[in-house]
């Protein structure tokens, strides 16, 4: 039998009390492309507790070039958060094969050594050629996880702007720089890459090269801030030695507090959703779709001022406006 669709309201209440099986089913549902499932998913998202989606938890993006040590850094962060009593969900995005569409997903144990803690939940996602690094399902899935967990961390591979789009769909973005590689610094200098909220040089245990990269990053960042006025700290850490991880967790947390103090937290979440909607539209219809809806700036203004609703329902509305008679 084709999997029966769950009752969205029951599923949403089970997810909000952190029923693990329910969360797994919810993520499956958000991955389901059948029209009936899309409707069910929209209803499910609408039934999640609003205060969690608007202001609950902390949605963090972590990105950086392959080999920078994102997974091991994530593993170390999980330990710190668990020690602080926080419950952690991870969305790990891996590239899929350009030939087969198949994918190899296998970072779970590198991120979570013991692999048995029930307060840690990891879902891997293949990016399936969409969004150049960030799978289309990431935003809705992040919301489902935020309804149940204190920290939701999205891990993506990448170094250029395309991949760092993760930053636009999270509260706080952390960029992991590879020691002794000038790439990230060049990207920052050239303005190819927007400034993340926290930059960390991993592998400080290797010594000189890591210190040099850190000081170059600090110089490059100077006193630059992001659009909100936040000045990104550059830190160093070692996942291998476990050093600098508490400081990193603190830095991520201070960005959240900074947003909260300024009353920008919920606004940012809304902007995340607007970014996702626009990106999704562009992916499906190209510039044509955006222009049909009045161009990017107008669309952003409209979306950030619109009343809160589930991303799937909002997207379906936009779609029907692009193609009025499907």
């Amino acid at each position: 039998m084709i999997p029966a669709l769950p009752d969205p309201t029951t599923l949403a209440s089970a997810v909000s009390v952190r029923d693990r099986l329910a969360l797994a089913q919810a993520l499956n549902l958000l991955d389901d492309r059948r029209p009936a499932a899309r409707q069910c998913a929209a209803a499910f998202l609408d039934a999640l507790p609003v205060e969690r989606l608007d202001a609950g938890g902390h949605l963090i993006g972590i990105t950086g070039p392959p080999g920078a040590g994102k997974s091991s850094l994530t593993a170390a962060l999980i330990q710190v958060w668990r020690r602080r009593g926080l419950k952690v969900a991870i969305l790990a995005v891996d590239p899929s094969s350009p030939i087969s569409g198949g994918a190899l997903l296998g970072d779970r144990l590198r991120m979570h050594a013991s692999g048995a803690d029930r307060e840690v939940f990891i879902r891997s996602l293949a990016c399936r050629g969409e969004f150049g690094g960030l799978s289309a399902e990431v935003w809705p899935m992040s919301l489902a996880m935020l309804a149940a967990f204190d920290i939701v961390l999205v891990e993506t591979v990448g170094v250029g702007q395309k991949e760092i789009d993760v930053s636009k769909m999270t509260d706080t973005t952390c960029f992991v720089a590879q020691p002794a590689s000038g790439d990230s610094i060049q990207f920052l200098k050239a303005g190819i890459m927007e400034i993340p909220h926290v930059i960390v040089v991993n592998k400080e245990d290797i010594g000189m090269a890591a210190r040099k990269t850190l000081s170059e990053l600090k110089t490059t960042l100077g006193r630059r801030t992001d659009l909100d006025g936040w000045q990104a700290p550059a830190l160093s850490a070692s996942a291998a030695l476990g050093s600098g991880i508490d400081t990193l967790a603190d830095a991520l947390d201070s960005h959240r507090n900074w947003l909260l103090e300024r009353g920008q937290f919920t606004t940012r979440r809304q902007r995340c959703q607007a970014e996702w909607l626009v990106k999704h539209l562009r992916e499906e219809f190209g510039r044509y779709g955006i222009n049909r809806l009045g161009g990017e700036d107008a669309l952003f203004a409209e979306l950030t001022n619109a009343p809160r609703r589930s991303p799937i329902a909002a997207y379906e509305d936009l779609r029907t406006r692009v193609i009025p008679n499907p």
């Binding site: 039998m1 084709i2 999997p3 693990r20 099986l21 797994a24 089913q25 993520l27 499956n28 991955d31 389901d32 492309r33 059948r34 499932a37 080999g67 899929s96 094969s97 030939i99 087969s100 569409g101 198949g102 994918a103 190899l104 997903l105 296998g106 970072d107 779970r108 144990l109 590198r110 050594a113 692999g115 048995a116 029930r118 939940f121 990891i122 879902r123 891997s124 293949a126 399936r128």
Partner: protein, 667 residues
């Protein structure tokens, strides 16, 4: 009157063996010695190899299965009861816990009244290859290299006749390595280890020549026995040059390439298993024909290894093969019969050139440790093995009875009451745990505590680990306690899986395309991409099968969750839930499949997934396959299932069946 012909001394003849308990293995060893075996080769069970006591949750189902459980000095004394260690030559296949098992061996010998200086034998102690094949590593590469180094430094001074490390190309071939890769990676490992010994400062310049002289190798011999002969000659030439040029070893004797052999298991078949006998004999020729490149010690697998565990009679047959070659034939009466052959010389040169190139690539990356950590070497091996599997599937690599000449009469060899294999007594695990508890109860706890504190202090300080380990052995420390102390200090490691290799031409072939189309169609019917979890539960590290299925699955469009070896059933169930997979594929080669499946099913129903289809692959006897299916396993795959595309279609249809969809046929 004719003068007696002068014959060379035969090599050491051993049989890799051990099972159930120290007592049962001791009886087996004494029988084997009485049949003319001239050395011992100890097989340890997986908990002993990975540093767990028999009552650890991870040891469940594995105790006494692929070897003997040795938990403490009492077990070691029982293992060698009535076998004088001062005169024996013992090879121990032990790696991550080599320092501990050697410490127990030394302590047991001391209790027999023998001094360490008298002992002869070998500890495999090549932890680097464990990251690439076999998988019984525990610690990260750096502390592992330190342990290898400590054993070398200790034995060179205190057990001068011991071979402290057997650098293994054997397992690389089992993981798919070509002869060139075997040469390159084994010699690169030797460089990593010798550099570490030199840099450790434990051995002075004059002692270093001794160290080089004590390094031995453990090599594989495949069915292409001419090429294998050439590989062995290439090893000899390259080692001579390497030790002279890189380490300045003056003495020709110390530069000699010394090696032992276990012939190939990868090519042994489950189909028509009697053919394995001629395979084993031919493979033995590859390492014995050329006098200049002849093995110092040979152990042969049993004909029925692909079916299950060999019985004493099967092992006797393997020993008799060696005895016929050495005592009946005229092999040992001649000098080297290949010297001067231009054909052989050309082949040797080609192998040397290829291996030299690959070694340079490894050195460019910073050496063998770095090339392992980055996943480079493992990817090379997975790629080679994928090529091999593909050649078998296509029939361009012929394997008699498997992919050609498959018609056969019923074999009388596998028809007996035991189906031609040995079954480990299911009571073995419980009895071993009872003995362990009894042993723990009678030791001096203060002494144990002090010995472990001393071990921890030694591990932290960087001093040689051996003397502290021997103290632990005498004090009654257990295998689990020794290992846990070091786990706490060194940490644990997960090696790269190496499956992230580019897709090969097969994935663009017509068959793969049609499977992919069917996979996508089913994904659309079910609403989302099809996901498989490939899980290796238990302590067994033989991952070829799991890796090949993972790569193939990706190439036909599945999303694959694979995380390497040594997962607990709990981790498997947790991953199945969190990842929302449609099917689980398990791989178990240690013989513990029945227990593992039971545990996985229990865990799955605990997380609410008891209806998820589960398939299993491994060395699984017919009778067990039936049992597993009764318990709810959807399909069982064994080494005779070589049609990878067929397996993929099977898996697809199992997923369809679980959702009440009609099966698809793929042209």
């Amino acid at each position: 009157m004719t003068t007696p012909i002068k014959r060379d001394k035969p090599w050491l003849m051993r049989t890799y063996s051990g099972h159930s308990s120290a007592k049962a293995s001791n009886e087996l060893y004494r029988t084997n010695l009485s049949k003319g075996q001239t050395g011992l080769s100890v097989a340890f069970d997986l908990p002993t190899q990975t540093g767990y006591d028999s009552d650890h949750p991870l040891a469940r189902g594995e105790v006494g299965k692929v070897g003997v459980p040795i938990g403490h000095i009492g077990d070691m004394e029982t293992l060698f009861d009535q076998i004088p260690l001062g005169q024996m030559n013992t090879s121990m296949t032990i790696n991550a816990t080599a320092a501990w098992l050697l410490a127990l061996y030394v302590a047991a010998a001391e209790r027999q009244g023998a001094s360490p200086a008298q002992l002869q034998g070998t500890t495999q102690n090549d932890i680097l290859k464990e990251y690439l094949s076999r998988g019984t590593y525990i610690f990260p590469p750096q502390p592992s290299v330190r342990l290898i180094t400590d054993i070398i430094a200790y034995t060179v001074k205190s057990i001068p006749k011991w071979n402290p490390t057997n650098i293994c190309s054997y397992h690389l071939q089992e993981a798919g390595a070509t002869p060139t890769q075997e040469l390159a990676y084994a010699l690169s490992t030797a460089i990593a280890i010798l550099d570490a010994v030199r840099d450790s400062g434990q051995i002075g310049a004059e002692g270093f020549e001794q160290v080089v002289g004590r390094i031995s190798f453990f090599v594989n011999a495949g069915i292409r026995f001419i090429e294998e002969t050439c590989k062995m000659r290439a090893f000899g030439e390259m080692w001579d040059k390497l030790t002279q040029e890189r380490y300045g070893v003056q003495s020709e004797d110390m530069r000699r390439f010394r090696y032992g052999v276990q012939v190939n298991s990868l090519g042994l078949t489950e189909a028509q298993p009697e053919n394995n006998v001629q395979r084993i004999v031919l493979e033995m020729l590859g390492v014995s024909l050329s006098k200049r490149a002849r093995a110092r010690a040979i152990q042969l697998p049993a004909w029925n290894e692909a079916l299950g565990l060999p019985r004493p009679w099967d092992q006797q047959w393997a020993l008799r093969m060696q005895q016929v070659l050495t005592f009946e034939t005229d092999l040992l009466e001649y000098g080297d019969i290949f010297d001067g052959s231009p054909v052989i010389a050309a082949k040797v040169k080609a192998l040397v050139d290829g291996a030299t190139e690959e070694m340079a690539r490894v050195q460019e990356q910073g050496g063998m440790v770095q090339a392992i950590e980055s996943g480079y070497v493992k990817r090379q091996l997975v790629t080679s093995h994928t090529e091999r599997m593909r050649a078998i599937e296509h029939g361009s690599l012929k394997i008699i009875g498997l992919n050609c000449y498959t018609e056969t009469e019923q074999s009388p060899l596998t028809g007996g009451v035991d189906s031609g294999i040995m079954k480990v007594d299911p009571r073995a695990e419980r009895e071993q745990i009872e003995r362990l508890n009894a042993f723990r109860a009678q030791r001096n706890h203060a002494e144990v505590k002090a010995a472990l504190a001393n071990l921890a202090e030694t591990a932290r300080s960087g001093a040689n680990i051996m003397p502290a380990s021997i103290l632990c052995a005498h004090a009654g420390v257990t295998t689990g306690e020794w290992s846990q102390t070091l786990r706490d200090i060194f940490g644990e490691y997960r090696a790269p899986t190496g499956i992230d290799i580019p897709a090969n031409d097969d994935s663009r072939g017509a068959k793969a395309v049609s499977i992919r189309t069917a996979v996508i169609k089913t994904s659309e019917e079910l609403g989302r991409p099809l996901r498989l979890l490939i899980g290796k539960p238990g302590l067994d590290g033989h991952s070829n099968g799991a890796e090949q299925i993972a790569v193939k699955g990706r190439d036909v469009g599945f999303e694959i969750v694979y995380e390497g070896i040594r997962l607990t059933p709990e981790q498997i169930a947790k991953a199945a839930l969190e990842e929302g997979v449609h099917l689980i594929g398990l791989s178990v080669l240690s013989g513990s499949h029945v227990e593992m499946v039971e545990d996985v099913f229990n865990q799955l129903s605990q997380v609410g997934l008891k209806n998820l289809p589960v398939v299993i692959g491994g060395i699984i006897p017919e009778s067990d396959a039936k049992l597993l299916k009764e318990r709810g396993i959807s399909a069982v795959y064994t080494p005779k299932d070589i049609d990878m595309n067929g397996i993929m279609v099977d898996i697809l249809n199992l997923i369809r069946k679980a959702h009440d969809l009609q099966p698809v046929t793929v042209a």
